[in-house]
Symmetry: C2
Subunit: 132 residues, 2 copies
Amino acid sequence: MTTPQLTKNQSLVFDVLEKADGPLSAYTILDKLRDHGFRAPLQVYRALEKLLEYGVVHRLESINSFVACAHPGDDCHSHGIVAFAICESCGQVMEFHDHEVDHRLMAWVRGQKFKPEKTTIEIRGLCEACAA
Amino acid sequence: MTTPQLTKNQSLVFDVLEKADGPLSAYTILDKLRDHGFRAPLQVYRALEKLLEYGVVHRLESINSFVACAHPGDDCHSHGIVAFAICESCGQVMEFHDHEVDHRLMAWVRGQKFKPEKTTIEIRGLCEACAA
DNA sequence: ATCAATTGCGTTATGCTATAACGTGTGCAA
DNA sequence: TTGCACACGTTATAGCATAACGCAATTGAT
Ligand SMILES: [Zn+2]
Ligand SMILES: [Zn+2]
Ligand SMILES: [Zn+2]
Ligand SMILES: [Zn+2]
C-alpha cells in the first residue's frame, strides 16, 4: 500500500503518534488535539482508520492503543506478520518481524483451510530497564 | 495451575462458555445468566478473572470476547503460547499451540532483554466453511 | 471458641472505548 | 450541470470494563 498525501486531520493524528514515546489511546490523542480543533472521538477514529489502512500506524489490540510504525522505510504490509513487545510498566513498544513465525502460523492455518486476513502478535511483559 | 473447585458463579459462567459454539462477550454472558440471578457486569468479570487465572478460559483480545479452553486435558499454561484462528464470519475459533513459534518469539524477546509475561496470537480471517 | 484475614458476592455508579446516523462542503468526472 | 466520492463536523448511542462500598461465608491461627 502506497501512502497518499495525508489530510489535515490524518497528519495531526500521525504527528501526535510519531512524537509520542509509546502507544496512545484514541481518547488520549483526542485530548492532545483539542487545541487544534478536535472535538469528537470520530475525528480521531476516522483518521486512524486511514492511517492503519496505509500501514503507517499499528493498532495494539491488547491495550486498545495505537502506535506509529517503527519501520517507516519498509512496507509493514509486505514483509509479513508484525509482532510487538509491550512493556507493561513504561509502555515502550518494540516492533519486529519474523518470517519463520509468519511461515509457521500461515502453514498451520492453511492446513486447516483457514483463510487469514489479519494477524495479531503481542507480547506483554517488562522491558530491560523496567525489569531491573 | 491446578483448578480448584469452582464457585457457583464461576461454574455458571464456565458452563455458558463451554456450551457456546464460539466466543462470547462478557455482556452476552451476563444476558444468558440473568435467569440465574445475574444482574451486573462485575459478576461476570469476577468469575472470568478466576477462570482465566485457572487457565480454563481464554480471552480473545482482538474481539473483546472469551472462550472455553479447547484443550481441557492439557494445561495451556504449561505447553507454551496459545494461538487462535478466529473466523470473522461465523465466529468459530480454532485453538492451537506451536512450540516452534513459541521458541522463536521467546528467543527474540530474550535477545532484547525483554521479560515476557503474557503473549497474544490471534489470526482473524475466514474458516473453511465461510470462505467457500 | 474467637478473632482476624481472605475470599466471594451484590449493588451502584462511573469511566473508557468505539460506532451509528445525519448533515455539510469540496473536488472531480460524466 | 449533475452525480459521485470523500473528508469533515456534530450529536447521540452502543459496547466494554472497573472503582468503591458493604455484607456474608470461609479459613486458619491463637
Ligand atoms: Zn510497522
Ligand atoms: Zn519498560
Ligand atoms: Zn487452551
Ligand atoms: Zn466461519
